[in-house]
Amino acid sequence: MTFLEDLLNDLPELVGRMRHHDVRHVSLKNGTGALALTLSENPGQTPPAHPIAPPAKAENTPVPSPEMGVFRSNDLDEKHPVRSGEIVGFVEAGALRLPVTATADGTLGPALIGDGCVVGYHDVLFRIHPDG
């Protein structure tokens, strides 16, 4: 087995020990190979694969439900242009009627949940497509 293969086999134990001793970064090398380990702040989160993020790709922005409750549609047309903060629907949470607001400028996609359906806390209700 190579140095690197040995290390990879021992990785779970090594990571456990690093967390135990609060060590965030380790660099190891010998004549045949080298390995640098960086742990994320929160266990379970994978550190980014690239130190420099690739150029951001235009992606749809989710519009979450503000609360657990019953979704009430605003009957907006499909491909409705919206501005960030615009009310695009409501969620009834007990006696409250909470607005669902657009999270970005762009074009609102169709509602992902039917009118009158139960929605969970922060469930995605719409997606907003960026213009251009």
Binding site: P43, M68, G120
Partner: protein, 456 residues
């Protein structure tokens, strides 16, 4: 709320997470009940959510805004039209206010009534109820200690030392002080009161004789709404650390079975007398051949599987049937215990320091073979969140006798693989070969003494 009919099954909301939510889901599926899994934002990938009929995210990761938020859980029950709520253990399972709100909403909690929870939740009223029912209690105060420290001193001097001052509304070791001599009493009462007030919102404390080397023995009961109550044998849960159980077994060895049977009968009778319904556990300290009541847990216990393995009774299924209003399908005479069962709690913790070790489970390989049961929500890639209890799996074995069970447990622990996070597995492996554990009958102080001895 509509009453479920024959063609419309009961709708059960599972107000918990992790392994116990999966355990309840399995019982629902067995009974053909419609199951509803609620979860926090951090728990969207829990294993049982793939098996339930409906899921609903009820709040953020913090338990205070999700699993511990009674209003949210009740709103989830309304939104999903659930008629039964199974609280599991922990979280809201012994919250009388929640039980009352469930009752007022016209729903059924898989557990006793709010009134019974209040009665048994207050350690002083619980002891009074036990004395009335003939369940043995430690010598101690009948009521809360008076606020006047001189009066309290007189009462405690009469009980004798060592004694323990305990929070009336407490549990889990908080608001608890051991007093070795009369001179230490006043400080202990004041500290316990302060801690109890902060932890439980109730500064009342009481005192009782302190046993030096007791075992923790408990009796599992089941009671239906028709007034029938049975006991399902005893468990020994003496291997603990800071009042948290780590290994449990059934039956309790080295204790006269006739003495356990008499105690069990008294517990079942106590259930009938107070109108208890559902599953419950009477906890006792056992020293010098005598049992002394500590408290009653008015819910399902983490360690219920060892009783299931020795009696063959599915306790969670029975809980649901009782909640549906059905009478127990068996009597005390039908209950037999067979062989020996042991449970090891696999916690995401450092096995030496017991520091929580949340993180990503890189690989999970379950042990197997005859007599091996694993109750867990683990899977490859599962991330143990830092927000909740560290219990990630319960490894349970059943053998023909205790030695067989210990050997099976050692083999199963050796076979089990969890990589990516630290767990208590190495400690369990060690315990299964320790002479004290092999001999059996250790006291509640055994594990801490062992850890001290080995310098941990």
């Amino acid at each position: 709320m509509p009453e479920p009919s024959v063609s419309q099954p009961h709708r059960v909301l599972i107000a918990n997470r992790g392994e116990i939510a999966l355990r309840i889901t399995r019982a629902c599926r067995l009974l053909g009940l419609h199951s509803i899994g609620i979860h926090s934002e951090a728990d969207a990938s829990l294993a049982h959510l793939r098996l339930v009929d409906e899921t609903l995210c009820i709040g953020p990761a913090a338990a205070s805004g999700s699993y511990l938020d009674a209003a949210r859980v009740l709103r989830a029950a309304e939104l999903t039209n659930a008629d039964i709520i199974h609280p599991g253990y922990g979280f809201l399972s012994e919250n009388a206010g929640f039980a009352e709100a469930v009752e007022q909403s016209g729903r059924t909690l898989a557990g006793p009534t709010a009134a019974i929870m209040r009665l048994m939740g207050d350690k002083i009223s619980a002891k009074q109820q036990m004395r009335r029912s003939g369940v043995p209690c430690l010598p101690g105060t009948e009521d809360a200690l008076p606020t006047d420290l001189s009066e309290a001193q007189t009462i405690c001097d009469a009980i004798g030392y060592p004694l323990i001052v305990k929070a009336a509304g407490g549990g889990g070791g908080r608001g608890m002080r051991v007093v070795m001599t009369a001179a230490d009493l006043r400080d202990a009462i004041e500290t316990a009161r302060e801690e109890a007030g902060r932890a439980f919102g109730n500064p009342s404390v009481y005192a009782e004789r302190f046993l030096q080397h007791p075992r923790h023995i408990e009796i599992q009961v089941l009671a239906d709404r028709q007034g029938n109550a049975v006991w399902l044998g005893a468990r020994d849960c003496s291997i603990q650390r800071r009042h948290q159980k780590l290994v449990e077994e059934a039956p309790a060895i080295g204790i006269d079975p006739q003495a356990i049977a008499e105690l069990g009968e008294r517990c079942a009778n106590a259930c009938t007398l107070m109108g208890y319904t559902g599953a419950g556990t009477f906890e006792f300290l056992y020293e010098d051949d005598a049992f002394s009541f500590i408290e009653m847990n008015t819910r399902l216990q983490v360690e219920h599987p060892v009783t299931e393995m020795t009696t063959g009774i599915d306790i969670v299924r029975e809980q649901l049937l009782i909640a549906m209003g059905q009478p127990l399908s068996f009597t005390q005479a039908d209950i037999r215990t067979q062989g020996h069962a042991i449970e090891c709690r696999i916690n995401a913790e450092d096995p030496e320091s017991f520091r929580p070790a949340p993180g990503k489970v890189l690989s999970w390989r379950a042990p197997g073979g005859p007599g091996v049961r694993i109750d867990t929500h683990l899977y490859d890639g599962y991330v143990v969140p830092p927000n909740y209890d560290s219990l990630i799996a319960k490894l349970i074995v059943h053998g023909t006798d205790r030695t067989d069970a210990l050997n099976r447990m050692h083999a199963a622990l050796s076979e089990m693989q969890i990589t990516g996070i630290a767990t208590t597995t190495p400690l369990h492996l060690r315990l299964m070969t320790e002479p004290g554990v092999r001999d059996g009958g250790v006291s509640v102080h055994y594990l801490e003494a062992l850890m001290r001895k080995s310098g941990s």
